[in-house]
């Protein structure tokens, strides 16, 4: 694995150019440019605010902020997965014709989404200030959480993109799974609404801890406990290592199967 990582590092310029290609292609020729990537969370924000604050009337303070702090990391996760799941198969012409470490393909998708995620802080931070949310030292934990989440996303992307080469159903299953997962994550409702007896089961979902950590850091000005920090680190590490093991196992047959 170490030698594999070294090789990926050797191809870092490929990763860079694939990420910038992805971003360029996405926003080239559109007048609003990268604001399109901000438009989606904004529209979602309005829809969910209307639905949950005024119709269903969930009692949550500062619902827009409450929502954004969880929805933005969630989009990072879900769009990383849905964009990287086909990354090997859709680049079949490359995989069959040129040698390069195949990890680069899902990796560049996740990194491209990371860049977009970081850019959304450009609206999140002003929004926090607008709602007079107190920001403090806990923000220093933020980079750490983002790194762990990126590792988590990467591991899943490795896993899904390699399986997708052999089973084209994976892509469709993922779509459904993401919808279920969305509702199993405390994005539009607070975690305390989950019945007490399900709480411990509910918290087995790794995205719960990620979303809660983001929310505590950004909205509640609360840091992360050491134990949670270790758990997040382990989630990221396990996902990455296991995902890459699966990827590596199938890697040798990618070019034959596409």
């Amino acid at each position: 694995m170490i030698s594999k990582l070294k090789e990926i590092y050797r191809f870092k310029y490929l990763v860079y150019s694939l990420v910038s290609r992805d971003l360029k292609v996405k926003y080239k020729g559109s007048i609003l440019g990268f604001f399109w990537s901000l438009l989606n969370p904004l529209v979602m924000l309005i829809v969910y605010t209307v639905a949950f604050k005024y119709i269903i009337r969930i009692r949550v303070e500062n619902f827009p902020i409450f929502f954004l702090c969880a929805f933005l990391p969630w989009s990072f996760l879900s769009s990383s997965l849905s964009m990287s799941v086909g990354s090997i198969k859709d680049n079949g012409n490359l995989v069959k014709k040129v040698y390069f470490p195949r990890e680069v393909l899902p990796l560049s998708m996740v990194l491209s989404n990371l860049v977009q995620f970081l850019l959304t802080f450009l609206i999140l931070i002003p929004a926090l200030l607008l709602f007079k949310i107190e920001l403090g030292l806990p923000l220093l934990f933020l980079p750490l959480v983002i790194i762990f989440q990126t590792a988590f996303n990467l591991g899943l992307s490795f896993f899904l993109s390699s399986l997708n080469v052999f089973f084209s159903d994976v892509k469709h299953l993922l779509e459904i799974f993401l919808q279920v997962w969305f509702w199993l994550t405390p994005i539009i409702y607070p975690i305390k609404l989950v019945p007490e007896r399900f709480q411990s089961l509910y918290k087995l979902n790794p995205s719960v801890l990620f979303v809660e950590s983001y929310r505590n850091l950004l909205m509640n000005n609360i840091g992360i406990s050491l134990s949670n920090c270790v758990v997040l680190f382990l989630i990221g590490l396990f996902s990455f290592v296991l995902g890459h093991m699966v990827f590596n196992h199938y890697n040798k047959r990618f070019a034959e199967e596409i």
Partner: protein, 424 residues
């Protein structure tokens, strides 16, 4: 000398799926039934291949379509992985397997150069250093900032080629792509390969074009049915390849005859040949075709300007009046070069019955190096009714004759030049 590529006892098998796409339902069902591999079977594309290629060598790999030669190249390029044995390589590898793989049509030519070169494993600085050279070689200075969706297919290929050839590999793998582009572009491409050779780089070339192989390669490997054949002298390997091709054709011919015999016995229409490139009523039919050189030895490789004899054996099941035997020779790109027959050649045959043979001789075979296709036929006198017409049934190669230096166009015409100075 150091070895640049070492292929040790390499085998490669592929899975042949019965279902076109594999889905989870199918896999799960099979898993539950406890039969794991019923939806595919294995077949070997390569078996126990051994190659030792020294640094600085140019090596050709030839073989029929599906013989496994491209698979071998992809194994060396690490696109595929062997199932048995292993491959050692030394130095940076560049593949010219497909030009412009990974181009994105929305991006400009220049942006695509960066992406494409980085795919080949190059760093930003290296690409920047080469950028000018790449653009210059492609001849696309005026278009390089336009998105490549506006490019013609020729421009597309030129850009792809310029990138692939201008990166600086130690080992260059080339698969067939020399066949693309116009003549000028091909010339440029050969010049670059010559330069690579002179710089002592290792080149591995897969091609159908035997003349190119013969011209460029120090050694040639033949792969037939996943197994390898090798002789020190490239010409020997190429002629072995022709022999294999010919054997297969002969086999096809024989099985055709059996079919004919059966058909005749069943009083069916005799013209139900299985190959689409052969037709005719078959009262008379071609049983063998052989090429001979000036030493009267069977061969499939000739030099421009050499003697060439073609012997056609036939069998006439009943008496056929005034048959006309004809041949045609095509260049590989389909250009019809000549089509002589016994009628135009004033060799009138009153009738044929039983077995016999026809010989056609060229004292100075005029074709320039390349691969040529050969057609043979028996017609009636007005050339309207085909007894047996076998379109493009054989190939033969023409290689360079050191005596003849011409290389432009298709044929060599023995001729001479003179120069006169005007007297003042």
């Amino acid at each position: 000398m150091m070895e640049a590529v070492k292929v040790i006892n390499v085998s490669k098998k592929f899975r042949r799926y019965h279902e076109k796409t594999l889905n989870i339902k199918y896999a799960a069902l099979n898993f539950l039934k406890g039969k794991k591999s019923s939806y595919y079977d294995d077949f070997y594309a390569l078996k126990n291949i051994n190659l030792n290629i020294k640094a600085g060598e140019t090596v050709g790999i030839i073989g029929e379509n599906g013989s496994g030669k491209s698979t071998l190249l992809k194994l060396i390029a690490r696109i595929l992985f062997p199932d048995g044995g292993h491959i050692l390589t030394k130095g940076k590898i560049a593949t010219l397997i497909e030009l412009g793989a990974g181009f994105h049509t929305e991006l400009s030519g220049k942006e695509n150069i960066y992406v494409n070169a980085s795919l080949l494993g190059f760093k930003k600085k290296e690409i920047e250093a080469k950028l000018e050279e790449i653009i210059d070689f492609s001849g696309l200075e005026n278009f390089i900032d336009n998105p490549i969706k506006t490019y013609s297919s020729g421009m597309y290929l030129r850009l792809g080629f310029s990138i692939a050839i201008n990166v600086n590999p130690d080992i260059l793998l080339i698969d067939e792509i020399l066949a693309v582009g116009d003549e000028n572009f091909q010339k440029k491409c050969f010049e670059k390969i010559d330069k690579f050779k002179n710089e002592g780089k290792t080149i591995i070339l897969v091609s159908h074009d035997l003349a190119v192989i013969e011209k460029l390669c120090d050694r040639v490997f033949l792969i037939d049915n996943g197994k390898q054949y090798y002789r020190e002298n490239p010409v020997d390997v190429i002629s072995e390849y022709h022999k294999i091709l010919f054997k297969k054709r002969k086999f096809a011919l024989r099985s055709n005859q059996d079919e004919f015999a059966q058909d005749a016995a069943l009083q069916k229409k005799p013209s139900s040949a299985s190959e689409s490139n052969r037709w005719g009523s078959r009262e008379a039919e071609i049983t063998a075709i052989e090429f001979f050189n000036d030493k009267n030895v069977e061969s499939f490789i000739f030099k421009t300007g050499d003697f060439l004899k073609i012997k056609i054996d036939y069998i006439a099941k009943k008496k056929v009046e005034k048959p006309v035997f004809g041949i045609a020779i095509y260049r590989e790109d389909g250009i019809h070069l000549c089509g002589p027959n016994t009628k135009t050649g004033n060799c009138n045959i009153d009738f044929i019955e039983g077995e016999g043979s026809i010989e056609y001789m060229m004292n100075s075979m005029p074709f320039l190096p390349g691969t040529y296709l050969f057609t043979v036929s028996i017609y009636d006198l007005p050339l309207l009714h085909a007894y047996d017409h076998w379109e493009r049934c054989l190939t033969f190669s023409v290689v360079e004759n050191k005596r003849i230096k011409e290389k432009f166009g298709a044929i060599y015409v023995p001729s001479e030049w003179r120069h006169y100075k005007r007297q003042k």
